[in-house]
Symmetry: C2
Subunit: 384 residues, 2 copies
């Protein structure tokens, strides 16, 4: 196991009928900006319930944060924050709303050149303070409700940002709010959470037994309860899916182990260039990436096959092949097509993706930096 730091001060409020507690979670004197997306939280009544639980607090609404939140949209919210002396941000929505709110929280404390906040990658954004924020998470997927990460789109590129200042002070996770989700978004969320675990798990082995077993536990739960949530209104499965998605990216499985976020890096390009939903891009890239990286990931792939997919027969190579095939079939079972051609992307499109990654400096992916752009191209061609 490698040395590590772990810190996560977000308070999780999990379960049905918890909105009444907003009153004690947000300072009584706070002037609150409630942020949301395309309006489904309005249509399904979630927003109204949230606001009615804010009591006498002054509340301003900001809707219209789009999927893959755009810098320009978020800057409009920053203006609202500044003009109205907002002192608490309440995100009501999925990953995009929560991610967007985190950027707003940071950008509101900067006076100019807000776009430069996006250029620090996984180093903390160099600002001294942020507006405190909380989340009502309506889509289990990104884990944004319990981490300090955000992804913002600027000039058609996706930029990851992070700062310890944007851990949500609290996140309410009420499975009831997910029943109004389109089925497709549930599928995307399952794929997203699954790949979050994989990127922290399928790397070089370092003997971190607790973390490995936690990862395997989340993967098995997603394999069991993801499809049930996709196909039905089963509440017990939905709760497990929600907590799996949060646990997948709150840091606890990633401590002390190498991490390989290649699938996300490649997937982000597919979203930025072709508008494919984030979870879907990961499901397209992952099986192909694992096939291309069998040698580098050999030991962990065997462990994945045996412990997650319960594959006991065959040689190690056969187990690995089966495990990757089962992973792809799992995504397909959620009606996620894992072929680029389905999304109209041909060889030329692949070349553009690779060229763009080069422009962005994304030329050495994986935990050792050995996943070069030739290999990215090979992975994408194999995913046609």
């Amino acid at each position: 196991m490698q040395n590590f730091d772990f810190y996560n001060p977000t308070r999780i409020v999990f379960g049905q009928d918890r909105l009444g507690e907003l009153d004690k979670l947000i300072p009584a004197s706070a002037k609150v900006l409630v942020l949301y997306g395309g309006g489904s939280v309005k249509r399904f009544g979630t927003l109204e319930k949230v606001i009615s639980n804010l009591g006498d607090r002054e509340v301003i609404e900001f809707g219209g944060i789009e999927p893959n939140p755009q810098f320009e949209t978020l800057m409009k919210a920053v203006k609202v924050v500044k003009e109205n002396d907002i002192d608490f941000l309440l995100a009501v929505g999925g990953g995009s709303v929560m991610d967007g709110t985190k950027f707003i929280a940071l950008a509101a404390s900067a006076d100019k050149d807000h776009h430069t906040l996006l250029f620090h990658g996984f180093n903390p954004v160099p600002v001294e303070k942020a507006v405190p924020l909380g989340c009502i998470a309506t889509l289990p997927a990104t884990g944004s409700e319990m981490n300090a990460f955000s992804v913002v789109t600027y000039n058609e590129q996706k930029y990851p940002i992070t700062s310890p200042l944007v851990y949500p002070q609290f996140s309410v996770l009420d499975p009831d709010f997910t029943f109004s989700l389109p089925k497709e978004q549930v599928a995307n969320g399952v794929a997203d959470a699954f790949v979050h675990v994989i990127e922290q798990y399928l790397t070089q082995p370092v003997g971190a037994k607790v973390q490995d077993r936690f990862s395997e536990g989340i993967l098995k739960t997603l394999i069991e309860d993801g499809p049930i949530t996709y196909q039905s209104d089963d509440l017990a499965a939905r709760k497990n899916f929600m907590w799996s998605a949060t646990s997948a990216l709150n840091g606890i499985i990633g401590v002390g182990v190498p991490q390989d976020w290649s699938t996300h890096m490649i997937g982000h390009e597919l979203t930025a260039m072709f508008g494919i939903a984030h979870g879907r891009t990961l499901a397209i890239v992952l099986p192909s990436l694992l096939r291309a990286r069998k040698a580098q990931k050999h030991d962990k792939l065997v462990q994945f096959a045996e412990r997650v997919w319960d594959i006991t027969d065959g040689t190690e190579d056969e187990k690995i092949n089966q495990a990757i095939d089962k992973t792809e079939a799992f995504f397909n079972s959620l009606d996620i097509v894992t072929a680029l051609s389905h999304y109209g992307i041909d060889d030329e499109g692949i070349d553009t993706v690779v060229a763009n990654m080069e422009k962005m400096g994304l030329t050495q992916l994986s935990e050792t930096g050995d996943l070069t752009l030739d290999i990215v191209k090979e992975i994408l061609l194999a995913a046609k």
Copy 2:
């Protein structure tokens, strides 16, 4: 899965050679009280290393916090804190030192009747502030380094206390500091961590799949790497043992599930009355308790047998019996004798334990309150 809250703001600094970071973890202007136990941290040089990393800060030492820390000892430290305007407490040691430091942090903000702070059980101690504290954890066992709990002995009784104010601000977990531990304490720590997991896991099933699998992952790791740590200086195993012990009681496996702390409640009496080390009392009580509670814990015991001990053959009852026998054999493999007679406790002693629990109002144990004192007596008689 039940509704739950999760909150744990402790920063973990895990790994070798991390003491240099104390300088940024503790405010530069802090006046620090360094607390420790019987002096082994002094003999083995840990204390000196810690203090040398505190730089120019004013440092006062307070040693002599005993195993099962005594109210009277801790009140002496409270006096030191008040007289010297201490504004940071740094615990260097195992569970007793960390638990004691938490009580000191709370008691220092009370003016009188400090003993009444002990009488709130698992409700937060009603004080408004506490002195901030950090830990250098030298004994993986209690999990105190990453939770808000403490157990203090007063008038020969053990009192649990808790307050969100006593989450350590940070805990340094350096496996190197555990190499000087007596073997017996390693064994006790393995037993303690194992039973912490069991008390959150072997209860009524509520379909909390992530939590169950996290628990099983920690148990399997303790079964594998506990004995290796007991018998050798293997660093990789020791790291996994350390992180298992912390993960066992930082709240993450206990969210949304029923908890049954009966083994601890009974074990605390055995420590308070007969001075048996905490971990050992748990190892004595648990196998006997599980045998007496097969019916109530049936479903989870089968799951425990199959998933933790990999028992696949036999009827469900046979699996359960095997799993309990293997659990007891596991403790015995660490040279922990699991018979009360070994510790000189006879029928009369057992009667005294039961009478004392009655006096303390501990008459309805388990998650449903159905474990009465008759059953406690039966459990202890079977553990003779």
